[in-house]
Symmetry: none
Subunit: 214 residues, 4 copies
Amino acid sequence: MSARPAPRKGTKEKWAERRAARREMILAAALDEFAERGFEGARLDDVARRAGIAKGTIYLYFADKETLFQELIRSALSPFVATIEVARSIDLPLRIVCERLAGAFAREVLGTRRKDIVRLMISEGRRFPKIAKFYYEEVPARAFAAVRALVRKGIERGEIVDDTLEKFPQLIIAPGVVAIVWDGLFDKYEPLDAEALLLAHFNLLFKAIERRTP
Amino acid sequence: MSARPAPRKGTKEKWAERRAARREMILAAALDEFAERGFEGARLDDVARRAGIAKGTIYLYFADKETLFQELIRSALSPFVATIEVARSIDLPLRIVCERLAGAFAREVLGTRRKDIVRLMISEGRRFPKIAKFYYEEVPARAFAAVRALVRKGIERGEIVDDTLEKFPQLIIAPGVVAIVWDGLFDKYEPLDAEALLLAHFNLLFKAIERRTP
Amino acid sequence: MSARPAPRKGTKEKWAERRAARREMILAAALDEFAERGFEGARLDDVARRAGIAKGTIYLYFADKETLFQELIRSALSPFVATIEVARSIDLPLRIVCERLAGAFAREVLGTRRKDIVRLMISEGRRFPKIAKFYYEEVPARAFAAVRALVRKGIERGEIVDDTLEKFPQLIIAPGVVAIVWDGLFDKYEPLDAEALLLAHFNLLFKAIERRTP
Amino acid sequence: MSARPAPRKGTKEKWAERRAARREMILAAALDEFAERGFEGARLDDVARRAGIAKGTIYLYFADKETLFQELIRSALSPFVATIEVARSIDLPLRIVCERLAGAFAREVLGTRRKDIVRLMISEGRRFPKIAKFYYEEVPARAFAAVRALVRKGIERGEIVDDTLEKFPQLIIAPGVVAIVWDGLFDKYEPLDAEALLLAHFNLLFKAIERRTP
DNA sequence: CATGAATGAGAATTCATTCAT
DNA sequence: CATGAATGAATTCTCATTCAT
């Protein structure tokens, strides 16, 4: 099962690479398992099976189940955070930014395993305060800061006339949360076109806050 | 049953009452425990301790852990459903209805243990398809049907000019979902005034859809 | 459920009768349950249900599960023992006695719930030494004493020429034991006509031990 | 084996051996426990203790209590079945075969833990129809087929003159069943020399069925 | 490093027995 | 007497974690 081929030269780097690759495999398997069963319901035995390794091996990479879970959230977050940071420095009308974000959200979150991360956060976050804090700081706090900055700029520029979103940036992402929650829960009974939902949302939202050109 | 006058019947009633009361105690304790730990994490031992009864007693009222969970959701839903049905028959402007609903939601859901029921549905529903279906039919399906009817009426009366909510009634309750998710997860870091959020939401929403009186 | 009709006169006797009747009901129900599930597998709850009474009532008639089991065996034995005693005093040829016993065994044991008692003895007796001893003394010991006496008489009379059965009276009842064991265990795959088996057995047996009239 | 360095394969074998040995230990412990307490009465905790292993370890070898029980019967049967098959092909007078079987039965069954297996079959078989069927097919069905073949041959050769045993092969093993049932149940009160019983049985039996040489 | 067998604390569930009504 | 709700010890089975190979 363990392929340990040709340890000839450059061994040091090869090792580090292999270690990192294996870590990723475990995290991927863990995401599958946690997403399907939740934290308590997930069995490390199955994580190992999904990753194609032995159960004990997990402990060579992660201290315990909880650490694995936390690292899973952490590792999935890093690339996401970067995306958000970019939004802050964009110098475009709020509406454009929002619509781009809607697309990005649909593509990068709803369309990938990342939606499972968000879902895990929603379902299990309460029991992992440390990771909830980390998540909060990395995702909503930054995203909301960006939103607030953009709103301010939009008002100063005269694009929009309403500062509600500055007080309640949650209103921007609310339909995104619903889309994530809806998926796999009620979509069998009432399918939901998440991207259309987001577009309709922003459409209404900007009808409400844009300066009305008479 | 016996020839002796009357004390029997009173006893029977007392018994039924006692039974019902105990059932409620267990359900209340179960809600505490499930809300705190999730389905898998909850220990029936602790449910019993919280209810002040012996472990085995739970099994006199519920067949097993899963049934207890399902009955918990079911029992918490019944009174809720009634409230929703009422909304259908109200004959007031959509805006009024919505604002009342916002208040009702804040009071009856966010302000009570019912919010934990909704949260459990969000967190665990995926693993209990039967109860998810039941919940869908009893809550969102009815609520959305009511919303759709009200929107249609509003348009016919000329109160509002947009039918987006007919297609995506989810947009109405999205901030409510966010409020529930936010609570206990991020509110330590950024408190959220749920009722203000809902009012702001409806304020924006109606700015977008109401007929503009020039 | 409890029928307590007409407590008019002769109350004392009526009571005693009723008590005895109820005791019998419980024992009958217990036999069903123990026969079907064995001692450990039997649930007093089901005994009560079969008897149409409440679980607690059993404890008004029997100290505990083990006592109930012992009384069950005891009560079922009393009438049986009498039958055996009669055999001792019969003054007929051994062969006749044996064939009558075969018939009696088929009718009175294999054809009734008594076979379940014997089976219970075989299955559970080892774990109830006290009752095994009681059973031994009441059934095989007496039966074997009778057999030995008859064999002696038969030899003295010149009916039979072999005293093997005096040493091993077990050989007389062996096919009966097989019939009881076979029933419900292998008879689905190979039915066994118990009475024919017993007759064939005695036929062979007497061919072997009877004085050969040349 | 020793030619190649192949440290892998050696290890593999050691492991498989160890696994098999442990399986046997558990089965041995289980036999002790089941024989003493019956299926329902046996506690896996005690099986583990008897085997000198942890509770959970049992479940690495057997899916559950019932499977353990079935495997116990199965494993104890395999060597036994072989013995029986041999009897079919023996070409000796029926009497000789029977006496050998008596010896084999006394030695291989009554003198070993196998008698406990038979006893378990008798006591618990009713509640495990699948295993009863398996047992029937592997033991009595084969043994009886062998007996029938031998009887036929004996008649054809003129050794014996009676075909009762063809119809009721149970008559051959009946005293063996009694010996098993007697042991541990009544032998404290009336010891039974099982081998002498079997010999006496065959002695009588052949007196009855052998051609009488005048 | 990797493996997977072994461990044992812990959880759900059952059921004989008790006891207030 | 009879009831059946309540109890809690006992039992089966699971699974995170450890450790010898």
